[in-house]
Symmetry: C2
Subunit: 245 residues, 2 copies
Amino acid sequence: MTTLPPIRPDTFRVACSSCNLRELCLPVGLSHDDLEQLDTMVATRRSIARGETLFRSGDPFQSLYAVRTGFFKTCVASEDGRDQVTGFQMAGELLGLDGISTDRHSVDAVALEDSQVCVIPYDKLEDLSREFTNLQHQFHKIMSREIVRDHGVMLLLGSMRAEERLAAFLLNLTQRLQARGFSASSLILRMTREEIGSYLGLKLETVSRTFSKFQEDGLLEVKQRQIQILDQAGLQKLVNGTAAC
Amino acid sequence: MTTLPPIRPDTFRVACSSCNLRELCLPVGLSHDDLEQLDTMVATRRSIARGETLFRSGDPFQSLYAVRTGFFKTCVASEDGRDQVTGFQMAGELLGLDGISTDRHSVDAVALEDSQVCVIPYDKLEDLSREFTNLQHQFHKIMSREIVRDHGVMLLLGSMRAEERLAAFLLNLTQRLQARGFSASSLILRMTREEIGSYLGLKLETVSRTFSKFQEDGLLEVKQRQIQILDQAGLQKLVNGTAAC
DNA sequence: CGCGAGCTTGATGCCGATCAATGCATGTGG
DNA sequence: CCACATGCATTGATCGGCATCAAGCTCGCG
């Protein structure tokens, strides 16, 4: 479509050791010394405007990216035009793990709002994680966690009905937001109904209807993208099957 | 349900360096020296009878497993009884990557026929991959490939219709079998219609009907679990959308 | 103010789920 | 060796949830 804007890495360094995301991001559990080494690696930030792509399927893979601020989606596309949102990423989460397998990215990563990422050159990460056991282990955990997450999505797509899917989606989102210090009951969706639908294997109309139904049932208050969760337990019950049986 | 049978590791060593799966398994692309090191790590085999589990969700994680012979499925279960097959694994493929993230397995791995696996103690793998760059890189690639595979399944579950799903499934299966020296057009399914359905997000009746439809359309010959592929291109066309549009 | 992107809501139809019966292969015990 | 049980597969009839098609609606923005 449009050509990529020139990449303009902000020149000042970002220190993992003083980043307020260090408890959510790659550095989890690293010692002070480890962290200082990590600082030598994560040299640059990059800003991505809303609607721009961080990378596209087919691009050569060189770096992983840690979301610093903002919000992303990742999509795969099949040969025919169909595409599927495979995930939404927020602060502290890693993008680009798919690229390691073939040295090319296999998904598009699109910023859903103006965002910043930390650039993690992959070869340096491999070098460093040969030296620092903790970093190595942490990195493996993150990859494994992504696999486990994907299995959860497969369960959702394979066996849940529309209401269950949306409930699970909302609970997952609020849980992650809460871990970042945001309210557990009030959120603003950064994605369209269509993007939610694509992620959940539903059409946008179904997503919209299900939001309306949740509102009628007193589970949510929905004002466009502004969501108030009124009955978290009620949502949870939807996900765990109609429970009590 | 039933208690696990006692684990009886076969006492003789298995050398990766002389294994006929080395081009498909963890050792891909390793040098001769690297391979000899790998041999020091993969100390034991384990036999799993058809229907038995290699590990279960919740079990403490200690090792990865490379399928030597046989065939496995992995399943996740949600709190309510629902469960979902997340993959089928054949010779040379790795099991257990999900366990790294939390030090506990998050899926069940069940043998669909009498099988053997090589036991890869995970802490040793981490040690060794700090020493050998190639091994480190290869391991990362395998994890990444699993992530990419999962994304493909998400696309399938999220946006394909029954016929497309089954066609994609069969093509994927034959491709992997072919890489192992088996026929590209003749295969014996190791799993039930229900397990296929669970993997593909369909009910067993739908799987059965779709097999019958493929047979009517001259794409396959189906005799219970024995499948002959008569028109591979026809299957491929189904997957890529009704093409020509 | 008017345009357009995104959202909501309604009417209809279809794909796949569900329910139910039968068929087929394998195994077991009399 | 047969009678019967059991697990898996096939096939048919019906139903329901979600997709599809089609208007309107809302809100932000030039």
